[in-house]
Amino acid sequence: MTRLIRKQSVISAKLDGDLVLLSLERDMYFGSKSVGAMIWELLEVPRTVEEIVGILQASFDVDTDQCLEDVRSFLNALVSAELVEWSS
């Protein structure tokens, strides 16, 4: 199953609970929600979208479809910014 993992080249830091990432393209990104920072933490090891959704549902009261949609959208932003990569 396809998994995602952080790219080694990205430098990350916390700023008042927000996430600050320095990508290869030298842009900076703030994760405006704490969930974004949590997903980033989870991606320290390769994970599938379904695994991430499962872990988030254990912590937050959110239905599966909504969570799946939000996580996918967030991960797509990370992939297009080249902050994470697919790991087989």
């Binding site: 430098i11 830091a13 990508s23 900076m28």
Partner: protein, 310 residues
């Protein structure tokens, strides 16, 4: 079997089929992994570019996997992930062409190999590196060279290298140790002046040959952002890491993930300081070159007192 020279640059192991004097030799005897190869080539298309110039459609070649640079009067550089090929015009000066190869060429190679290139110059003094960042012409190289020269230190890198963040701290990788300085700065280092050679490419700068260089990654003691201000006197102050980022963030609508902010060099410095907990300073100076040595003494004095008080 081709002749090969091995170097380290920004944490990468580099193999070249020509000696590259400004780079630091790789000390490892067993070269079991090469990250980047530099090769002189004479492919027909390279010869055609040198002879006739690049065709107009070449802009299409500027993608991540293959970047071709045609450098007028000098030659061609072609960067693919892990491979930097080059061809030089017969009459071009190798030393000047090398400046392009080890500047923009290596910069592109770092991107292609997923390494973040930092626009910094740094030196080791007192057991740790001081890394200078700032816009072009702010005085990064001058400060790094002056500090190393005045306090018996070593150059870690001029203009570009990479960092590795640890649990608490950051390490700066050795890069190019041949420092480029403005003439006014060179004139301050009278004892070193014989080592300075005019850079024909920029016409403005001089290359300081043979500076003492660091060969291994060095723990960073301080990050210094150089701020040029018209009419300003020299000043140095410690700032809270992330302070500037907070102001930027608060001034933007950051409701969704993916807010892009400009001023990449300053952003890099702030994020690196925030991630590594390395103290960060802002150094202000006027546009006119005054005494770099005296600036260095004040700067180091401030940093040393600051670190000693912790």
């Amino acid at each position: 079997m081709i002749a090969a020279w091995h170097y380290v640059f920004a944490g990468l192991r580099v193999e070249s089929d020509r000696p590259l004097a400004p780079m630091s030799a790789c000390e490892d005897v067993a070269i079991d992994r090469i990250d980047l190869r530099l090769r002189r080539r004479s492919r027909p298309w390279m010869k055609a570019v040198i002879k006739d110039g690049p065709p107009r459609h070449w802009i299409k070649r500027l993608d991540r996997d293959r970047v071709v640079l045609a450098i007028e009067d000098f030659g061609v550089i072609c960067a693919s992930p892990g491979l930097l090929e080059w061809a030089i015009r017969h009459e071009a000066d190798w030393r000047e062409f090398q400046g392009y190869l080890l500047g923009i060429g290596l910069g592109i190679s770092l991107y292609q190999l997923d390494v973040i290139p930092f626009h910094v110059s740094g030196c080791v003094v007192g057991g740790g590196a001081i890394a200078f960042s700032g816009t072009s012409g702010a005085g990064k190289s001058s400060m790094a060279y002056a500090l190393a020269s005045a306090f018996g230190g070593e150059i870690v890198s001029d203009d570009m290298t990479s960092f590795q963040c640890a649990e608490k701290g950051a390490f700066m990788f050795p890069g190019i140790s041949e420092v480029r300085l403005f003439r006014e700065v060179v004139s301050e280092f009278r004892e070193d002046r014989l080592r300075a050679r005019r850079d024909e490419r920029t016409q403005k700068k001089y290359r300081m040959i043979g500076a003492r260089r660091a060969l291994r990654p060095v723990e960073v003691r301080a990050l210094v952002w150089i701020e040029l201000e018209r009419g300003s006197d020299f000043g140095i102050r410690r700032v809270v890491a992330g302070e500037r980022l907070r102001r930027w963030r608060d001034s933007l609508y950051a409701a969704d993930f993916g807010v892009h902010l400009g001023r990449p060099a300053r952003v890099q410095t702030e994020v690196l300081a925030l991630a590594s907990k390395v103290p960060v300073y802002v150094m202000t100076k006027g546009l006119r070159v005054t005494s770099v040595r005296s600036d260095c003494e004040q700067l180091l004095g401030t940093i040393e007192r600051d670190l000693a008080s912790k």
